[in-house]
């Protein structure tokens, strides 16, 4: 069996369509939207028009994330020799990753059933493989900060938001699915926090690299600042659950600030691109 399987070799059947991150990142409707056309952000709520469609799309994204989280945790069991060196993974870490792999497999099954309930088909929306890509880092500690602390941390925020969405809509299936998966995600993030501290206890440089990687992933995938603590944040930062998952207040404050920064940077980029497009006869779009 291969060590370090590249993302393009992930096994998928014909229902899944891969969407490259750059395709979304370079979408001119996102990068060059003029200020007057910018849709206001609102917290995700069942009272809004189109909210059930937004919920379906978001939950399908979570479903493909669960598949990749299962694949990533499984890879970490295999990709590193057992040991305590910088390129090794302790046996107990592999046990935790095996447990996570089992949890994620169950989440995949829950997500498929939830998709049936909401009317979604497997593969109805494009799949971005950023979670698995973060799980390809050659250092197991960076995998833990990139995936378990950053992306599974984002999953905590999404599950908590969607659990509240289900509760407000009176949808018992969505509410329970999110509540059960949220409980597991808190455990997965806690695993990341615990192993980060344990594996870098005597190696401050490695810890700094791992936390820097987490910051990059957190900022990149704050969805242009859509996940945050502002009044209009569609996805709320779930402070209490993050505390349970081993984040301290300063770390949570930093994630909130990263989201605010990501939003401001996105708006700045949009303003600059819109101005450029306005000056170009072809609208600046190719």
């Amino acid at each position: 069996m291969k060590v370090n399987l590249p993302p393009e070799e992930l096994a998928r059947d014909g229902r899944f369509i891969r969407t490259a991150l750059l395709t979304r990142a370079l979408d001119p409707r996102v990068t060059a939207v003029p200020r007057e056309k910018r849709s206001p952000r609102v917290p995700l709520s069942p009272e809004l028009p189109g909210s059930s469609e937004a919920a379906r799309s978001l939950m399908h994204g979570i479903f493909t994330g669960e598949i990749q989280a299962m694949e990533g945790a499984g890879r970490t069991c295999w990709d590193f020799p057992i040991g305590d060196g910088p390129a090794d993974a302790p046996y107990e870490l592999k046990l935790d990753m095996a447990r996570q792999c089992w949890d994620e497999a169950r989440h995949c099954e829950i997500s498929v059933k939830l998709g049936d309930w909401m009317g979604s088909e497997i593969g109805e929306f494009g799949e971005a493989t950023f979670l698995y890509e973060a799980a390809c880092n050659p250092d197991p500690v960076l995998r833990l900060t990139g995936v378990n602390r950053a992306l599974e941390g984002l999953a905590i925020d999404v599950f908590n938001t969607m659990r509240e969405f289900g509760s407000r809509a009176g949808d018992p299936v969505l509410e329970f699915c999110e509540d059960w998966m949220l409980a597991d995600e808190v455990t997965h993030v806690k695993m990341g926090s615990d192993w980060l501290r344990r594996l870098t206890a005597t190696d401050p440089e490695r810890r700094a690299r791992a936390l820097e990687f987490q910051r990059i992933v957190d900022k990149l995938f704050s969805i242009g600042g859509a996940r945050g603590e502002e009044e209009d944040s569609p996805i709320r930062l779930a402070r209490r659950f993050r505390e349970l998952a081993g984040f301290d207040t300063a770390e949570i404050d930093e994630i909130a600030q990263l989201s605010t920064d990501a939003r401001e940077e996105l708006y700045d980029r949009q303003d600059r691109a819109a101005a450029t497009a306005a000056e170009s006869p072809a609208g600046g779009v190719t």
Binding site: I17, T19, T23, R24, D27, P28, R29, V30, A32, V33, P34, K37, S39, P46, E47, P49, G50, S51, S52, E53, R56, S57, D116, W117, M118, G119, S120, G123, E124, F125, G126, A169, G170, D171, P172, V173, A282, G283, V285
Partner: protein, 184 residues
């Protein structure tokens, strides 16, 4: 029937103007819009959301945000099935609005969201009977979100989904009754 789609050339998305015209002509004929009716479809390609609005019924003017026509698996590309689903639903609502016996639903933007979802259900149910997908479970989920997750709500949904020759008063009554029972 003359179908006009603007813009003629899309620059922000990779939509095929002629494909939209072809789908609109086919669906309008199947829904039963009068053959002498002019139809204008105005696509705001800069907005990846999916809001739609019937601006007028003679000529028919429909404003569509680009996301309503976009293939969710392929960003910026046209999803012809979605074009048919979206326009089919709106064309049935145009047909309702043009019928003197239907009643006055008011402007799209002023409708109560529950009523709007109920009317969508009635329109898509008819579209499905023409052989289009209709995405029954998607519509049921949207209806439940507005009217409750209960057997009573599902019965209301079925009355609308299988309904024929309903009036605006009947649609809103079915919707209001389901909402009232939701809060009991």
């Amino acid at each position: 029937m003359t179908v006009t789609v603007t813009p003629e050339t899309f620059v922000m998305v990779l939509f095929d103007h002629d494909a939209i015209v072809a789908v609109a002509e086919r669906v309008a004929a199947e829904v039963g819009l009068p053959p002498d009716l002019d139809i204008q479809i105005v696509v705001d390609e800069a907005i990846p959301l999916a809001r739609v609005h019937i601006e007028s019924i003679d000529p028919v003017v429909i404003n569509v945000e680009g996301g309503a026509f976009e293939d969710p698996r392929h960003p910026r590309q046209l999803g012809e099935e979605l074009v048919a689903d979206t326009l089919g639903r709106l064309f049935f609502q145009v047909l309702d609005r043009r019928s003197p016996s239907f009643g006055d639903p008011g402007d799209d933007n002023d409708q109560d969201l529950s009523h709007k979802v109920a009317w969508d259900t009635y329109a898509v149910g008819r579209l499905q009977r023409l052989g289009y997908d209709g995405r029954h479970q998607v519509r049921l989920y949207a209806f439940r979100n507005r009217h409750g997750f209960s057997d009573t709500s599902d019965e209301a949904f079925n009355r609308l989904w299988t309904g024929q020759d309903l009036t605006w008063d009947e649609i809103t009554r079915i919707s209001d009754d389901a909402v009232a029972l939701r809060s009991v």
